[in-house]
Symmetry: C2
Subunit: 322 residues, 2 copies
């Protein structure tokens, strides 16, 4: 029997969503799955009452009186709330009473509690959140995906190891290609930390392909995308945001429409703000149409007296714009 | 006449793309547009020869023998190459011989050269690259979009001012809403710099709505999205990458397919790597199906002995995974 402990209090609509999901899982998954719902029993029972067909024989409830909120400081919250659904659920896993644990709650707290309670693999200095992203073919793993906001170069290298092992030994890719998410392919690009990580990765025992720009992520140029958690979170969630927008706009001609809207060719390029002039920065990959439109943009800004209007607007701000 | 100086040597396929775009622009835009192609005259002329119909009357070539490459250090390159297309083109603008300048080349160099040559607005400490992103309704401006990789909290606040003025005075939004791109809505979230910026923005004379998660960017919850350039670059370019993938997969049922692939419900959640256990981190917004699938994931990992295999894989790495 595989017992999965579920933090029933974790998500934004907990425990409703967690309970419904658990019930669905039991109905559709192999007989050897059991679920432990961890949280406030009364609330969980109330939700379960709405699912009379639930297979209660494979469903346990584990009381946990406390909840760690999304805004709480991870480590402090974990220490302060030993009776939280997060700590109780992880303890079930730690003590072998559960085979796995899942939470849709505070990611940082989940990482911190997992590190403290479960411990790290030997040789691992920092745990990371790995997320699979789809591509045209096999998915790529991005890590960190939102838990470790500030990462040292050494930690980024650690993520490369973890991702390599994961893609090789779990996903079955013989020699996973590792890419460092960066703003350009050249090794001089990026922040000081990313540049340092690049140098370390060049000499690390992974198949390092170099920097990978975000525009190549979904093309699958690397199997493992390494980045700090702030960047990873943004990359992941903005993708979701984009798909949401696509669906909203959607129906039929949607691709073309979204593409048109997103395409550099439409907006022509990015504008430098803050300089006394009209400066548009196109993409390296600009098409002729993009250049054409950038000219149009420049024209519009010039006719519209962009510089003067910005100058006025900035001058009108009470404190200086710094 | 509106004279637009175009860095003909900037993009990845320069000058071919730049010349073709300029020719297109002249053919389709108002008669009051003139273009100055800046770069190696011979190469530009060779490209122009392929466009016999080009309106040469509104097209000038300005010789610039040097080119600043994508990999060059911005400020050093600008200082070292006074005869680069970038510096020559910007000088045309600075001296009033051109009304605008555009380049698809090295963004950092364009920013640096613009700052040095054109100067900053009074009260502005640092220029920024602003990019428009589409939403279901009016576009939002994201800044910095890739030029200033490391930003102080004060600089982020400066971007908020610039974005506010731009959206109000140029885009016509009466009271632009400013959001700080972050990994969570709570003000305790984020890196030290982002948290500091949050506090500064609360007291700044802009309409600050608080933190905005990347998943809400395309929903248009803010008119101005403030972030450092590394994050902005990734957010922007991964969006392009995603649209590219959509188009590749596309034809008809593509939305559903892409959505299915990207949706947290499909992959169930993110996996913590590095801890001795199976820990899946779902999204705060997880649906019941997402929870169900996360259970399935946990099940699969457990059956597949994820922990042991990872442990083995990490142990097999020559140097420690840190």
């Amino acid at each position: 029997m595989i017992r999965v402990a579920v933090d029933a209090m974790g998500g934004d609509r907990a425990p409703e969503t967690e309970v419904a999901g658990a019930v669905q899982a039991l109905a559709t998954m192999p007989e050897d799955v059991a679920i432990q719902l961890v949280g406030r029993s009364a609330a969980i029972e109330a939700e379960l009452a709405r699912h009379p067909g639930a297979d209660r024989g494979r469903l346990e409830i584990h009381e946990a009186a406390d909840v760690i909120g999304m805004g709480e400081k991870p480590l402090a919250a974990v220490r302060k709330k030993p009776n939280s659904s997060l700590v109780v659920g992880l303890t079930l896993h730690k003590t072998g009473r559960a085979d796995a644990f899942l939470s849709a709650g505070n990611t940082g707290a989940t990482l911190a509690a997992s590190t403290v309670l479960l411990g790290l693999h030997d040789g691992v200095e920092r745990a990371t959140v790995a997320t699979l992203l789809p591509t045209g073919s096999t998915p790529v793993v991005m890590l960190d995906a939102g838990a470790n906001l500030d990462c040292s170069a050494r930690e980024l290298v650690g993520f490369a190891y973890l991702g390599t092992v994961y893609m090789r030994d779990i996903m079955g890719i013989a020699t996973p290609v590792v890419g460092l998410l960066n703003v350009g392919e050249e090794e001089e690009k990026g922040t000081a930390i990313v540049r340092e990580a690049h140098q370390l990765l060049k000499n690390a025992p992974v198949h390092f392909v170099g920097n990978v720009e975000a525009r190549d992520v979904y093309a699958g140029v690397a199997d493992v995308i390494v980045c700090d958690g702030f960047t990873g979170n943004v990359a992941l969630k903005i993708s979701e945001s984009l798909v949401d927008m696509i669906e909203t706009l959607a129906s039929g001609a949607m691709t073309a429409e979204v593409s048109r809207r997103l395409d550099a060719a439409e907006y022509g390029g990015a504008l430098l703000l803050g300089v006394k002039g009209i400066v548009i920065v196109g993409h390296g990959r600009s098409s002729a149409t993009a250049v054409e439109n950038a000219v149009g943009l420049a024209h519009r800004f010039s006719v519209g007296r962009l510089v003067e209007r910005l100058e006025r607007g900035i001058a009108a701000i009470p404190v200086s714009a710094t």
